[in-house]
Amino acid sequence: MSVILVLVAFSVVLAGGFLAAFFWSVRNGQYDDTYSSSVRILFDDDKPAEPAAAPSAPVKLMNEQSPNQ
């Protein structure tokens, strides 16, 4: 039965790791602005677009009007 206690110890350490990761992400400011990153990930990488080229159907993203949070 003592194997359960070993597993419990493992699981607590593992969960503690996730808690530490959460702490790090908060300290890193990831919860300060939850909107920008959600948009940023959808931007294309740098590519030289023709200046005058008519845009294809505009990519519509969620639009935020209110000064949220």
């Binding site: 039965m1 419990v8 969960a15 919860y31 920008s36 505009p58 990519v59 209110s66």
Partner: protein
């Protein structure tokens, strides 16, 4: 704030400006087969297309805001001043500088894309990143190739105008972010999950040696996990309860703190003594749910500022003229008595000063509520805060910024103290009775059991205190008020705190300011019915008034939009009298009766602008205050329920018009100084009224603070507005009755859900008093009550918002 969210109608697309989406009018400007409403928008497009940044238009349809005033001139010259530069920069070393700029125009994903790709527009930009919720952009740049001034001018040229004020400048002014709630929530959630797992064997009634060993060990682990829950995550409630008690004030946190402590110590006792499994899972669940409630309630609009002071109204720098006549720019802090300063068109007068050169035409509408500019001659005194409309003037400073009339006006009302303590929230009233009731109940049952079966007394008393812990009750308020606040936010009505919803629901008297509040700030209305003139001459008038910044000219020009501007020769403006000039061979005079016709006949107090063409009188244009859209409906709807008052800093020229809207002449007051307004509110409150003040300007600052609830109305919510409890975007003025109605509905929802949570408490107490509260019952009842209450509250807020004609999505 422009709305770009909804896809424009198909019909509108054809004539919508490619940049900002506004209608292009009869004569759109075209470039590359794209239509633009104005040259400003076209210029922005050109800059972007030259820099390969047209992806800007890919992420949103019409992402721009209508471009205004593309001419920068020397407006930002002060940024070359070393002292100001150093104050604005976060960091500067070895040719690399970093600056954080507040840009209210940030509103969509295209904005983020463009601002983070600024390096395409200029090589000097190394890196830029946007904080959307704060509407800030942090830019790192090579200051050898790109000066701060050039950077700001670059941003202005693409119509992302940074707001540079004394308040935002300076490193000490940074607002600290409180991330404690996230840590506490994380710890509580982490422990909650683990404790639930470890508590599970205790609920299985298998009884053998191995199980007992597990239970023992898991019990110890539960205590270890319970400690951070009770004393780290739960500490806010315990501390707040203690602080309240020291001030002889029983808040909802008192029974919660008692609950947390009793839960922890009784569980620890049970586990260590081996008499039971303890309630650690209930404790962790309780603290976790309460922390979610706190987090939901503490939502703030970070980009908005409800606590502004005079510093955010004033410019960062002023132009000083030395004895030798040389111009230099100094930070406003360095401005001293006796200095000679220059104030250009549309600039603020930063300190009380004496006019020494030029002709002043000072717009005090924001400071005093006077709607028309005040003419000033050389030798006259000008108070700080006025805005010059016209040619540059030179002044000699009489008092420093911190001692000016305006600053004093601001400071005199700061004695009111924190608003939070002015009224008791319904939650506090209820929790006061609740706490007393629970303490009485536990004492009585304790005494009963002491005589009946003494061994049970301790268990019953602690069980009552555990079950009575008003978790569900404590959740109703944050979730209903937080939900209502979010609904308001979606309708462009931004509250400072959730508590303002309750304040709004209790209002019985509404006091309005006039200028800028019920009249529109964007100027005056013009009526052409008394003008005897041909269509061609209308175009001539339009071309002429274009060159003047007088509010009447601006109003006339706005009404005559659509005409092509013709060249004007010999234009002259005689301040506070009129303008004249030649257009297409005709000589036009526009202005006061005396200026145009030579006699003052029919002048009617400046509300008529006379016109003459080639020396012949052609009637007049009637200028009137421009009331907000739907004002009549709003006021008549409000009058059914509330007592309405009006306080105006302006003269009573509009009295006849206003009498139609307000029920009683006695409630209309004109020529009110800021102090008069404050005292009027105070007098109303002394008669027991709950007063809502709605204003917009500095002159209302005192009244807004003094009232039970102060709403500041603003065309641009990120621009300056006086300290208040809520900011209302002016376009939503017509929804005011709906907002007030919805605040009352929200309070009704609070009452109903409080009733429900009491029912849960009664059920729980019946278990506790009879001595039957087992950890399982507690572990089920506590989350069940909280979750159902939160679901009920959130749903009813959502549904009733729909019924109140408010936007929910």
């Amino acid at each position: 704030m422009q709305n770009n969210s909804s896809a424009p109608e198909t019909a509108a697309i054809s004539n919508a400006c490619y940049h900002c989406g506004e209608d292009c009018g009869k004569v759109p400007i075209t470039l590359d087969e794209k239509r633009f409403c104005c040259n400003g928008c076209k210029t922005v497009f050109e800059i972007l297309s030259q820099s390969n940044a047209c992806d800007y238009y890919r992420y949103e349809v019409h992402p721009g805001l209508k471009a205004v005033n593309p001419e920068v001139g020397s407006r930002y010259a002060y940024l070359d001043n070393e002292e100001i530069r150093r104050e604005l920069l976060e960091f500067s070393e070895d040719g690399v500088s970093k600056v954080k700029l507040f840009i209210p125009a940030i509103h969509c994903s295209s904005c983020i894309w463009l601002l983070e790709n600024l390096r395409r527009l200029h090589d000097g930009v190394m890196q830029s990143s946007v904080n959307f919720v704060k509407k800030e952009v942090i830019i790192t740049f090579h200051d050898t190739t790109l000066s701060l001034r050039q950077l700001v001018e670059l941003l202005v040229s693409i119509n992302y105008i940074p707001q540079l004020t004394l308040e935002t400048a300076g490193k000490g002014a940074k607002r600290k972010i409180n991330r404690g709630i996230y840590y506490r929530l994380g710890v509580a959630g982490f422990c909650f999950g683990n404790i639930m797992l470890f508590s599970f064997p205790a609920y299985l009634s298998v009884n053998d040696a191995v199980e007992n060993l597990l239970r023992q060990n898991f019990g110890i682990l539960n205590i270890l996990f319970g400690i951070p829950v009770a004393f780290y995550s739960g500490s806010v409630f315990i501390i707040s309860a203690w602080k309240g008690l020291k001030k002889r004030f029983i808040s909802i946190d008192v029974p919660i703190a008692i609950g947390i402590l009793v839960l922890f110590f009784r569980s620890a006792y049970e586990i260590i003594s081996g008499t039971g499994p303890g309630f650690m899972d209930s404790l962790a669940g309780l603290v976790f749910f309460l922390s979610i409630g706190r987090w939901y309630q503490d939502k703030t609009y970070q980009a908005l500022s409800f606590e502004r002071d005079y510093r955010s109204y004033f410019p960062v720098a002023v132009t000083v003229i030395s004895d030798l006549g040389a111009e230099s720019i100094i930070p406003i802090k360095k401005l001293k008595t006796g200095m000679r300063i220059m104030v250009r068109n549309q600039e603020l007068v930063p300190a009380d000063a004496l006019l020494v050169k030029g002709i002043g035409s000072i717009d005090y509408s924001f400071v005093s509520g006077e709607s028309s500019p005040v003419p000033k001659k050389e030798g006259e005194r000008i108070f700080a805060g006025g805005r010059q409309a016209g040619a540059s003037i030179e002044l000699i400073v009489e008092r420093e910024v911190a001692q000016s009339h305006l600053t004093e006006l601001w400071n005199q009302d700061m004695t009111g103290g924190e608003k939070q303590t002015r009224w008791d929230s319904i939650l506090d009233v209820i929790s006061r009775y609740f706490t007393v009731m629970i303490l009485v109940l536990s004492t009585v049952s304790g005494i009963f059991w002491w005589f009946y079966q003494p061994s049970m007394a301790f268990l019953v008393v602690t069980a009552i205190l555990i079950v009575a812990c008003p978790c569900a009750l404590a959740m109703t308020y944050p979730f209903s008020m937080g939900g209502a606040m979010r609904v308001f936010g979606r309708n462009s009505f931004y509250l400072k705190r959730t508590g303002v919803v309750e304040a709004l629901s209790k209002i019985d008297t509404i006091v309005f300011d006039k200028t800028g509040t019920i009249t529109r700030n964007d100027g005056l209305g013009a009526d052409f019915s008394a003008l005897i003139i041909s269509q061609d001459h209308l175009q001539h008038i339009s071309s002429l008034v274009r060159h003047s910044t007088h509010p009447a000219s601006v109003a006339i020009y706005r009404q005559l939009q659509g005409f092509e501007a013709l060249p004007v020769t010999g234009f002259a403006e005689v301040p506070s009298r009129g303008i004249e000039g030649h257009v297409r061979g005709h000589f036009l005079k526009i202005g006061s009766a005396e200026f145009v016709t030579g006699s003052a006949a029919g002048s009617a107090g400046g509300s008529r602008v006379f016109v003459s063409v080639d020396g012949e009188a052609a009637g007049f244009i009637a200028i009137s205050n421009h009331y907000r859209e739907g004002m009549k409906e709003v006021l008549s709807e409000l009058a059914q329920r509330y007592e309405l008052h009006l306080l105006s800093g302006d003269n009573d020229a509009e009295l006849p018009n206003l009498l139609a809207f307000f029920p009683s002449r006695n409630h209309l007051h004109f020529n009110q100084s800021p102090k008069d307004k404050l005292e009027y509110i105070r007098a109303l409150k002394a008669t027991g009224k709950k007063v809502l003040m709605i204003g917009d300007g500095l002159n209302d600052a005192g009244a807004l603070r003094e009232s039970d609830c102060g709403i500041s109305i603003a065309d641009d919510i990120y621009h300056f507005s006086p300290a208040c409890d809520a900011i209302l975007e002016s376009g939503q003025f017509r929804h005011l009755p709906d907002f007030l109605g919805f605040s009352r509905t929200s309070m009704r929802i609070v009452f109903i859900s409080m009733g429900l949570s009491f029912l849960y408490n009664v059920v729980g107490l019946s278990f506790a008093i009879t001595g039957n509260l087992s950890p399982v019952v507690s572990a089920i009842l506590m989350p069940l009550s909280s979750v159902t209450i939160v679901a009920f509250v959130t749903l009813s807020i959502f549904i009733s918002a729909r019924f109140s004609k408010l936007e929910v999505k």
